[in-house]
Symmetry: C2
Subunit: 350 residues, 2 copies
C-alpha cells in the first residue's frame, strides 16, 4: 500500500523570513506600510468586537516568552514572541516572533508566518497610524532617539503615512546612528546625526523614542519638550522599562492601545492607576477627540498589542495569494474518515 | 548585492504529518509508546518544577481554540489545539494540533511539529502509564467503549506497557467498531466485538471509555462495575461532557492529572468541589499510594495536560536527530548584527 497524498486541507501556508523579505520588496516597503495602516485602522475601528485575552507570559531570569492571542469572531490569531535583552550581547535578536491565523468555525490553522520582520513593520505602521491622527498636520521633521533595529522602519512608515522628510538621529552609541545613516542613505531622506538628545529634537514636530535598555531611563526631560509636538514613545514596553520623565506625561495628553496592558508595560507605569488616558480605538471611531489644539503635546505610549499583529497577519494573508511567496506546510492530519486516524497511520506504512 | 544565506540559527526543525507517520513506523508504534511513557513518567516525577499556566481558551459557538504552554525552566513548550465537535459531520478532524519547543535562555524556537498524530500517541501513552501504576498486575483484558479515533492507540499502548492482549469493543455506532476490527486485524490481538457495554466489560480488568459526544452521557452505571477493576475514563474532557454515573466515582479511588483543570473538564465536574482525588505525579514520586488492594476500583479521570505534550515533544526532539525525518524551517530573522534588521532586509533586495 502507498500512502495517499495529503488532501488540500492538510496544508497551511507558511511564510518564511526569506519570502517575507521578498514580499516586502515586491510590494514596496512604503506601500506596505500604508497598506498595514489601513488594516490596523480597520481593526481599531471594530475594537470592541475583539476577544482581548491578556497575553500569556512565561518569565525566566533571562527573559520572557509570550503568547498573544486574539479573535474577531471569524478569524483567530496569535503571536509567539520572546524578549531577551541579553541576547544582543550573544549576537542574537532580542525579539523573535512568529504568528498564526486560524478559522474560528473549524479551528483549522490556515497561515503560519515569521513575524520578527512583520512585527518590525507593524510596530512602525502603528506609530504612523497614530501620528496620522495626532501629530501636527505639517509635521515634516522627526527626531529619532534610539537608533536600534526599529528605527529605520519608523522612518519609512512616518514618511509613507505622514510625509516626514527630515530625520534628526541620536543614540548613546554612535555606531548605531552610523548604521541608520548607512541604511537610509540613498533613500531620499534629509538626515542629520546629532550629538545630544537636545540637539535631535530641535525643530522636530514628531519625537520618536525607541531605545532598548531595560531600565528606568530618562531619554527626555520636561524642559526639553516644547508645545505642539507629538511624542511617539515606543521603547518603554515592559515593567521596569521607561524612557520619559514623568513630568512630560503630566503636561501631555496620553494616548494608549489597551489601558490594562499599558499601565503595566508603558510609560504610564510611572503614574497613578487612575492617570487619565485616551484609547486610540476611540479616536479612530470618533468617540474621543485626537489633537484639539496647536499647542497641545500629544503622546503615544505604545507597547504593542495583539490586535496589531492580527491586522498584520490579515494583510499578509490577503496579499499572499497573488505573490506566490509561501510554502505549503503539511501540519494537519486529515484522514478521509475523521475517526480513522489510526488507519491513516497504518496506510502510511508503505 | 545578493542576500546572504540564512545562518543556522535562522532555522527550526519542522516535523510534518508525513514525517511523523514515517517516524512512528521507523521506531515502531509500541516501542514509541514505551518511550513516551518513560518521558511522561520522568516529567510527572519532576512535576513541581513545571510552570503550570492554565490553558488559554478562545471559545466560539462552534468550538474552542486553546494554547497550552508550560516550561521546565530550560525548555518552553506549547500546544495549539482546537476542539470542534461538529467538524466530524463535515469530514474534518474534531481536534487538530501542533506544538513547539523553545529555549528558555534565548527564547528561540527550536522545534515545530504536527501534534494531531502525536497527541493521539501521548494520550494513549498517558493512559498506559497510569494503568501501569494502578491496574491489576495480571490485567490482560480491556474493554474499549467508544471506538473512535483514539481507540486503536489505546489498545497499542496498553499492550506495549501493560501486556493487554484481549480487547472487548463496543460503540453505539457499529461502523466504528468495524473500523477498529479492520485496523487491528493482523496485529495479534484477540478482539471481540460486543453488542452492549455490559457485554464489553465482562471479564475486563481495565475498562477504557473514550466516547466523543459532547453531553452528559452515562456509558457506565454503578451496577455494571465490579470490584478490582481499573477504569480509564478519557472521553470526558470538557465542561458538559462526562461518561460515568456519579455513583461510580463515589465507589472508586479517583486519580487525576491537575485538579484545577480536571474539576472543570473531567468526570469529577459532577462532584462537589472538595471531592477527594489523588494527583498522579504524587503516585509517581512515591508521595501517595497507587493501588492498595485487589478489590479497590481505581479510576483515572484523564483530560490531557500540557506537561504530557511537553514530554511528547521532548521525546520527539531526542529521536529526531538520527531519523532525519524533519525539514528546516526559515522562521527566525537572524541578521549578523541584531540591531541591523533593516540592513538585512535591504540586502535581501537582490
Amino acid at each position: 500500500m502507498t500512502a495517499p497524498a495529503p488532501s488540500e486541507l492538510a496544508f497551511i501556508r507558511f511564510v518564511s523570513v526569506e519570502n517575507m523579505m521578498k514580499l516586502i520588496h515586491q510590494i514596496g516597503i512604503e506601500e506596505m506600510m500604508t497598506g498595514l495602516v489601513g488594516y490596523i485602522e480597520e481593526d481599531f475601528r471594530r475594537w470592541e468586537l475583539f476577544d482581548k485575552t491578556p497575553r500569556v507570559a512565561s518569565h525566566s531570569a533571562e527573559g520572557v516568552i509570550e503568547l498573544m492571542p486574539t479573535s474577531d469572531g471569524e478569524v483567530y490569531g496569535f503571536k509567539y514572541v520572546n524578549g531577551h535583552p541579553k541576547n544582543t550581547r550573544e549576537g542574537l535578536q532580542t525579539v523573535t516572533a512568529f504568528g498564526l491565523l486560524a478559522r474560528v468555525d473549524t479551528g483549522y490553522p490556515v497561515l503560519l508566518s515569521e513575524m520578527t520582520m512583520l512585527t518590525a513593520l507593524r510596530t512602525a505602521a502603528t506609530s504612523a497610524m497614530v501620528a496620522k491622527h495626532l501629530a501636527p498636520k505639517d509635521a515634516r521633521t522627526m527626531a529619532l532617539i534610539g537608533n536600534g533595529a526599529q528605527s529605520e522602519f519608523q522612518a519609512m512608515a512616518m514618511r509613507a503615512v505622514c510625509g516626514v522628510e527630515h530625520l534628526r538621529l541620536y543614540d548613546i552609541d554612535r555606531a548605531a546612528t552610523d548604521k541608520v545613516l548607512r541604511n537610509l542613505g540613498g533613500l531620499g531622506f534629509d538626515v542629520t546625526a546629532c550629538a545630544t538628545p537636545e540637539e535631535a529634537i530641535e525643530g522636530a514636530q514628531i519625537i520618536t523614542t525607541c531605545t532598548a535598555d531595560k531600565q528606568y531611563a530618562t531619554i527626555l526631560t520636561d524642559n526639553m519638550v516644547g508645545s505642539g509636538v507629538h511624542i511617539n514613545a515606543i521603547g518603554g514596553d515592559c515593567p521596569g522599562k521607561t524612557e520619559l520623565h514623568p513630568d512630560i506625561l503630566k503636561r501631555s495628553d496620553v494616548f494608549v492601545e489597551f489601558p490594562p496592558q499599558t499601565r503595566i508595560e508603558g510609560e504610564i507605569q510611572q503614574m497613578p492607576e487612575d492617570f487619565a488616558v485616551t484609547e486610540m480605538w476611540q479616536v479612530l471611531s470618533g468617540k474621543a477627540p485626537g489633537r484639539t489644539s496647536e499647542r497641545q503635546i500629544t503622546l503615544f505610549d505604545g507597547v504593542g498589542f495583539a490586535i496589531e499583529d492580527f491586522s498584520a497577519l490579515r494583510y499578509l494573508r490577503d496579499r499572499l495569494e497573488d505573490s506566490g511567496l509561501y510554502q505549503n506546510l503539511d501540519i494537519i492530519a486529515d484522514p478521509d474518515d475523521p475517526r480513522d486516524l489510526f488507519g491513516m497511520l497504518q496506510r502510511a506504512k508503505g
